[in-house]
């Protein structure tokens, strides 16, 4: 069970550190084309920053910042973004996930449309992985009883 931790040093350091971890996670997602990285890795880094909130503060504080309902919405939103990127290509007249056709609605040439199509699906993957990692962490660490986690 998670016990609340009243340690000003840990809280201050984490408050300073978490924005940089999240920035790095966003960088790994957004720059996954050009360097090692991508949606899966970046999503895990974003989830790690949230886990640090849970460990350094406590569970109600963490859930106040990122509620369970939002978490569930985000976990399906990522797959939704990915699948709809594919469907957009289908609706514009190309094959499923054939991003080149997205140049009809984006102001770029077909090659760069593939680039932005890949960016869009990486964002989708990152959102899903982040939300699923967070919900797995919260459920496993409290045995599924979020509300009673601080009672004992």
């Amino acid at each position: 069970m998670i016990t609340p931790l009243e340690n000003i040093i840990i809280k201050t350091i984490c408050r300073l550190l978490i924005p940089f971890i999240q920035l790095f996670g966003l960088y790994v997602i957004a720059h996954g084309h050009g360097s090692p990285g991508g949606g899966f890795q970046g999503g895990c880094i974003l989830a790690a920053s949230f886990m640090l909130v849970v460990v350094a503060f406590d569970l109600p504080e963490a859930k106040r910042r990122f509620s369970e309902k939002m978490n569930n919405i985000f976990s399906s939103l990522g797959v939704f973004i990915y699948a709809w990127t594919g469907w957009m290509c289908l609706l514009l007249g190309a094959n499923f996930l054939d991003y080149g056709i997205l140049s009809k609605i984006l102001p770029v040439n077909p090659v760069m449309a593939r680039y932005y199509g890949m960016f869009s699906i990486e964002v989708g993957v990152g959102i899903t992985v982040m939300a699923i990692m967070v919900s797995l962490f919260l459920d496993l660490v409290t045995g599924g009883k979020h509300e009673e986690a601080l009672d004992e």
């Binding site: 991508g38 090659v111 990486e122 992985v129």
Partner: protein, 90 residues
Amino acid sequence: MKSLAFIVTVITGVLLIYATADFPDWGDPSSPASLHVSPRYIEKTVEETGVPNMVTSVLADYRGYDTLFETTVIFTAGITAVMLIRRPRK
């Protein structure tokens, strides 16, 4: 019965090990895997997709359908874990 299972296991293992002798060498440039689609990915990635990272172009573009359902598998597994473990307070 136990000895029969042992003999079958040994025979299958020997056959599998014997078959590995026909595999192409590690990193062999004339192996089927290096001749079919790999040259296209290596030569045309920047030209066709605009990304400098070959891994991403294969993962997200040429094999995008695979990655879509990888994401769906993660989503389904996570939702299943939540359904099984989560016990909200009434």
